[in-house]
Amino acid sequence: MLELSSLLLAEIQAHGAQAYPEEGAGFLLGRAEGERKRVLSILPRPNAREQAARHNRYLLTAQDYLQAEQEAERQGLDLLGVFHSHPDHPNRPSEFDREWAMPWFSYLITSVYQGQAGESRCWLLNEDRSAFTEEEIRLL
């Protein structure tokens, strides 16, 4: 289960709308207790893919990851996952998402249609990497 405040979810959705028609992305920071993850802050990052691909691809580089890990440590938190937007597409993970997915990380995806953020859903990679399973979002 992924827990986060309505305010943080609104910030994530606003980031997706701002990035439209490109994909926007960033890191989820917080605390994990067993299968329960509580998001306490977010770290939006620029989409590092080349401009022509940003409408349906995002990339957070190794350097982005390192900086996010350091920022999480500075705040006394852990990296819990990643958020990104799907411009004019459903908030389900794509095959490309699956190929690149890390285990354990929560993948929060927001649909953005015509520049307006829609709903967000969260996904976890299955242990055998064959598919994602939806993770419940609990708003605080």
Binding site: R57, T61, A62, E69, A72, L79, D97, P103
Partner: protein, 90 residues
């Protein structure tokens, strides 16, 4: 012996350890040592053909091994390899 630093999403496979001591004189041998100790890591680091997955980056100090000799990069006893994922999707 060299050490490999483990990123957060993979620590559930290393008994929550953020560092694992490995054996090997090259990065390839060190990675082999890592997955021998923690076999459940293997599918998340290597594809079915045995190649490193594209999101896996290994850094020696500030240097990405791709800019050195890749997995054939020699390691010293005191080296620390840092495993850092790139995050991508669509």
């Amino acid at each position: 012996m060299p050490i490999i630093k483990i990123p957060t999403p993979l620590r559930s496979y290393t008994a929550n350890q953020s560092e694992v001591t490995v054996q090997g004189q090259t990065a390839a041998e060190a990675m082999q040592s890592l997955v021998e100790q923690y076999p459940a890591l293997h599918p998340h680091l290597f594809n079915p053909e045995g190649k490193l997955r594209p999101y896996v980056n290994l850094f020696l100090g500030e240097d990405n091994l791709r800019d050195l000799q890749g997995l054939e990069t020699p390691l010293k006893e005191t080296d620390q390899l840092r495993l850092i994922p790139s995050i991508a999707g669509g």
